[in-house]
């Protein structure tokens, strides 16, 4: 966990007091809506279809148990008893009253949590691997670098009014769990042949109405130059990014229009001028940030302890263990994914009670730490293997142990037309119906790894372009229709899906997905060939022929 200092606490308290005053002035009429709207957005407050929504950042997806408990308190006290975890490691409260927002924000600020820069044309919450600091795969803890970027980008005066919003993601493992290739800037932390730590820098990725996979503009950037290089990128974008057309204002459009090579050249020129200036990260600064991350005092333990072996005789526990428990860098420990995808439940939603269960598990077994993944699940990153049976029992009792992580019912979905003022079609009920069709967990295990992503509009908050199966809701003549894509992926081999065929109606979607899956089962080279690999091998045509013949 990162430990905030007095500066952070004082800043947040001042910001809450400022917002409290702004809300009072708005309610009294001293501020018009036009004056107030940009102020509330800067604090993560949106006005949705039928209520205000507060988006709260969870920096690099890391929460303490106290923070999660406080999110539960806010959900219960000021909202309707639940929250929605998003694809950018944020949580959204969907029903908060404007008049209650200052109190809710004050409650969050007490534990160092806020909604600042979760909206607006600024650098948003920097996201990373939810297994950071725990996975044996990584070169370094990416949260150190995310925290450096957080401090740098928070209220940065030069980058508060960018052409458009700006999203950065970092992975420090070869296996990319942070979708770095579909961010404005993706950073891949690794070591060069000399053993030095540095980043491959990708720029211009993104989804929305014009999706692109990010382009590599630098194969290796020494880590100490992170801030100066990011500043150079931001300056080039700030100078040349379009402001005349909101649909062409993201950095991906600039990179696409001038080409990655020309963009990189402009960045390098800017960087040369500033690389050894004030933004140079000295060893002392890096060490200071690093020292403020407190790590568990792991005690040596045996792998596969007897208590675990005994518990694995229970098929239900074994199914969960096989699906939701992952290797840890410390022997005798494990990473646990907590599925927020119970069959038939809204993807990514957690009730206040469930948040408190996970917080208590983190207290009792997990060094008081919880993570949020972009797949809209939670994670206990540091637990002892011998505690897994007890953890499972408590998760199971709270409806949080569905063994469907990375399976077809582990669906990523945006709030869609049920909440969002921008949406054209519903996403959550579509996800619920598909999950019900695949409720048989043995069947879903047979299908294997398969990511379904659903967005309720072209803005693509559900990342449909990079779903193995992507579903995009559109509106035609007042009716909901859905376009299906196959073959997208968000990992280190990121690519955009290919359109399967004509859009189908709301009612037809679940059956069509079943037909796609049945076709995969029929065509796959063997039980070990994943859906995404079958699509890569055969293309979408065989699927199209079968699926549309049936509809």
């Amino acid at each position: 966990m990162y430990v905030y200092d007095e500066f952070d606490r004082a800043f947040l308290a001042e910001r809450v007091a400022e917002f409290r005053d702004q809300v009072a002035r708005r309610l009294s009429g001293a501020l018009s809506e036009d004056e107030f709207k940009p102020l509330r957005l800067m604090n993560g407050v949106y006005l949705q279809l039928h209520a205000y929504m507060l988006r709260v950042a969870i920096p690099y997806g890391t929460l303490s148990s106290d923070q999660l408990r406080r999110l539960a308190y806010v959900a219960r006290t000021y909202d309707r008893g639940y929250g929605h975890f998003t694809t950018r490691q944020n949580i959204q409260f969907n029903w908060i009253k404007l008049e209650d927002l200052p109190d809710a924000m004050a409650a969050l600020a007490e534990v160092g949590v806020h909604g600042i820069q979760t909206s607006g044309n600024c650098i948003r919450n920097v996201t990373t691997d939810q297994w950071a600091g725990a996975t044996p795969q990584e070169f370094d803890d990416p949260r150190i670098w995310a925290e450096i970027l957080r401090q740098y980008s928070t209220l940065h005066p030069e980058f508060t009014y960018l052409p458009r919003k700006f999203k950065i993601a970092i992975t420090a493992a070869p296996k990319d769990r942070a979708a770095t290739k579909v961010h404005d800037v993706g950073l891949r932390l690794h070591r060069n042949e000399a053993g030095e730590l540095g980043f491959e820098v990708l720029v211009g990725g993104g989804l929305g109405r014009t999706p692109f996979v990010g382009k590599s503009v630098r194969a290796f950037l020494p880590a100490r130059h992170l801030l100066s290089y990011i500043e150079a990128i931001m300056r080039v974008y700030n100078q040349y990014g379009r402001r005349d057309n909101i649909y062409k204002a993201r950095i991906k459009i600039l990179v696409h229009e001038i080409g990655a090579e020309a963009f990189a050249k402009a960045v390098e020129a800017e960087w040369e001028a500033i690389r050894d200036g004030a933004l140079h990260l000295s060893d002392e600064i890096i060490a200071d940030i690093r020292s403020r991350f407190l790590y568990p005092d792991f005690q040596p333990r045996a792998d596969q302890p007897a208590a675990l072996a005994t518990a694995l005789e229970d098929p239900a526990f074994a199914a969960w263990h096989r699906n939701s428990v992952h290797p840890h860098k410390v022997p005798g420990h494990a990473i646990v994914t907590v599925s927020l995808k119970a069959i038939g439940a809204p993807p990514g939603d957690a009730t206040a009670d469930q948040m408190e269960v996970v917080a208590a598990l983190a207290d009792d077994f997990g060094w008081r730490e919880i993570r949020v993944g972009h797949e809209q699940n939670l994670c206990l990153p540091n637990v002892a293997q011998e505690d897994l049976p007890a953890i499972w029992r408590r998760l199971e009792a709270a409806g949080l142990a569905t063994p469907n992580v990375n399976h077809i019912s582990d669906i990523i979905a945006c709030p869609g037309l049920d909440y969002c003022a921008l949406a054209n079609a519903r996403a959550i009920p579509v996800a619920q119906e598909i999950a019900k069709r695949f409720a048989d967990l043995e069947r879903s295990r047979t299908i294997g790894r398969l990511h379904v992503n659903i967005s309720g509009c072209i803005n693509a908050c559900g990342h449909h372009h990079v779903g193995h199966i992507g579903i995009l809701g559109v509106e035609k003549n007042g009716q909901e229709f859905y376009q299906i894509t196959l073959g997208g992926r968000a990992d280190e081999h990121a690519q955009l899906g290919t359109l399967l065929g004509p859009a189908v109606s709301y009612e037809q979607v679940p059956g069509l997905i079943e037909d796609v899956v049945d076709t995969y089962i029929e065509l796959r080279a063997g039980p070990d060939e994943l859906f995404i690999d079958t699509v890569a091998r055969l293309g979408v045509e065989p699927f199209k022929e079968r699926v549309y013949a049936a509809h």
């Binding site: 309610l27 279809l49 039928h50 205000y52 639940y82 009253k97 049920d418 909440y419 959550i428 009920p429």
Partner: protein, 102 residues
């Protein structure tokens, strides 16, 4: 020549003016008394673009009660009841179309 606002607004049936209540964002409807009601049944229904533009202008006079006013389609049922005119408005009136977490 029609004003720019008139050029944009097409009214092909009964419509009402709706907005979100300032204090809590709840959905409200403009009434004949130039007030706001959370009940669609209280909405003033108009059927021409001129009437809709006038109703919208009246709704936008002050923004301390409700914000984001716009013209929304409605349907008059056989029994005279007023119903939302499309899915978006049905969701605004009735809430999400699935059971909320609890």
């Amino acid at each position: 020549m029609a004003s720019p606002q008139q050029q944009k607004l097409k009214v092909n049936g009964p419509v009402a003016v709706t907005a979100n209540r300032l204090t809590d964002g709840a959905v409200v409807w403009r009434t004949a008394q130039e007030d706001w009601s959370p009940d669609l049944a209280d909405a003033l229904i108009v059927t021409t673009a001129d009437q809709a533009i006038a109703l919208l202008a009246s709704a936008q006079k002050r923004d301390t009660d409700a914000v984001g006013a716009y013209v929304a389609p409605v349907v008059i049922e056989a029994d005279g009841a007023i119903a939302p005119g499309n899915l978006r408005e049905r969701i605004r009136v009735a809430g999400p179309t699935f059971e909320l977490p609890h």
